[in-house]
Symmetry: C2
Subunit: 382 residues, 2 copies
Amino acid sequence: PVDLAVIVTPAQTVPGVVGQCVDAGVRSAIVISAGFKERGQEGLDLERQVKAELGRGSMRLVGPNCLGMMNPWIGLNATFAKNIVQPGNVAFLSQSGALLTAILDWSLRERVGFSAIVSTGSMLDVDWGDLISFYGEDPKTQSILLYMESVGAARSFLSAAREVALSKPIIIIKAGRTEAASKAASSHTGAMTGSDEVFDAALRRCGVLRVQSISDLFYMAEVLSKQPRPRGPRLTILTNAGGPGVLATDALIAGGGKLAALSSDAEARLNALLPPHWSHANPIDILGDADPERYAKALEIAIDDPAGDGLLVVLAPQGMSNPAEVARRLAPYAKGYNKPVLASWMGGRDIAEGEATLSAAGIPAFSYPDTAARAFDYMSAY
Amino acid sequence: PVDLAVIVTPAQTVPGVVGQCVDAGVRSAIVISAGFKERGQEGLDLERQVKAELGRGSMRLVGPNCLGMMNPWIGLNATFAKNIVQPGNVAFLSQSGALLTAILDWSLRERVGFSAIVSTGSMLDVDWGDLISFYGEDPKTQSILLYMESVGAARSFLSAAREVALSKPIIIIKAGRTEAASKAASSHTGAMTGSDEVFDAALRRCGVLRVQSISDLFYMAEVLSKQPRPRGPRLTILTNAGGPGVLATDALIAGGGKLAALSSDAEARLNALLPPHWSHANPIDILGDADPERYAKALEIAIDDPAGDGLLVVLAPQGMSNPAEVARRLAPYAKGYNKPVLASWMGGRDIAEGEATLSAAGIPAFSYPDTAARAFDYMSAY
């Protein structure tokens, strides 16, 4: 039996093709074709015909009016995008094909991997609840990201989300927070969006984390694909610059995180290593003249300290700092410590090489340390 | 007479050198040397000696413990940073040397220009109030950005800010919002930070715009250096993708902006140009199959429309979109319309060339359309 049919024929022909698939015992189908409910009454009629055909058997259908789906672990690219994403552990489900193509292109540059990418389209059959349940049980998937414009069948979405969020983070961005945006969304998909406050409250009860900006959604894809989740909210910040350390602390606390209190052992080791006027606390300010050697030794102490649930290393380019070399010294700590390691190499030209080294090592390198601190909060607070 | 002395000698020698400068009639000095109040009592004594020497004449002094300052319009680089920034219209004043080196490095990559860069250091003499008044009258400066850890002389800061903010945007990020961060800041500079709520209220009364993240501060440097300020809050969004348009709208409204209502003339011209199922409203969704020609023609209509105070062009890479070519068609609109033009080319590899074209043309190119919409809000709402 055929596992999957990909249907890319004119809308009027789709009900017939779906019917043939049902008759042939095809198990599932993706309808990429557009021209359904987003085109008005005629399209709605076509959808009804498709539903009737589906009702005759057990075939499930993704779409119509979607970009398709990818499963990079088995090399499946059933979309009309030319490149396939890298394999990873994040499932990304999106009601916007354009957002998917953008994140796909971005992920190739940032080396972010996915367990699956699904463009949901009109959700004539397979909907949020189905997808969340499916990826909740998928062993390759460790977290699920959603871009949503319309909720669809709310009850099935919420009950699936509640169950899956117990074991895997679900992170969502929902367009149409404001009335104006909601109107724009409705003209775009033909779907109505509900009250945003009600939705927000429902998500909180389910344990789903909602983010408000595209950058946060992309960053979550990056950190969850590259680093383990922290066991608690305590972050250790290591920096060669006081100001950026303070701004990272502001963001950390505002997002619900905590500064790890250095263990006395770690503090003693840092005292032995660092000039006397280091900060003597977290953020560990190893001072503006820190060279790669000082960074490397402080790094080892900071990551070893069991008082911290995660480590953020900040570097601002200064006279002695050598951003590329510090990145090489940080790279080996990317894995094996069972706590996330994040980095913020600040600047432009001088830090580009170091940034590339971090990215290749699987350490998310943020342009701004406060953004990194917020990402840590999201990781621990979902 | 000597205009400026740059003092980079050990801290104990600084009072003597300052005294010699005063005697020689030097008009101003920058003390880059560290080792003053941030080192405790001994440093405080040295500061008192410097003050006493300054009291004998009229020389003004920036620092100590600072990176120095730059004025790229006259080619002055009185810092220990190796590269000088590009000339522009933004004055950037920072109490963190590391943040300055980071923004400097970043600005060279992003082609952001400055009228001046000043590292304030300990503010033994020249303080926030002096600097704001000075750059408020500087004809090269059209906006002032501040990174602040401690307010110093609050009265002089607030009265200078109130006066200057009437004619030039002042945008500030203040570290130490939270208690934990405030403690970190105090261990870093030796300065105490005050109540954040009081400070916030004072800023609002002065018309100073406060941002909460480093990224927003850098983005403001970029948009203010490259584009004119909008005359009002009405943004026109042109996009080839519905979802990103909706998310940009959410951010716009949440930040206090408004969607421009298209003029009937613009709508008629768009009706003649676009496929019948375009959005028929702002955001102007020119649809996923938009090619460069359709983009170019819609652009001209959108920018001509007097109903909008600014334009945001969004592109998500799709089959027909050709991000590089659309960027070339957008570039000529960077100047001459007396309204800001912002862009968001979403993605990674496929949009890199277009991003570079936009940047070279002076159009800020954001990775995320909602970030761009927020920057527009900041520009109009300062």
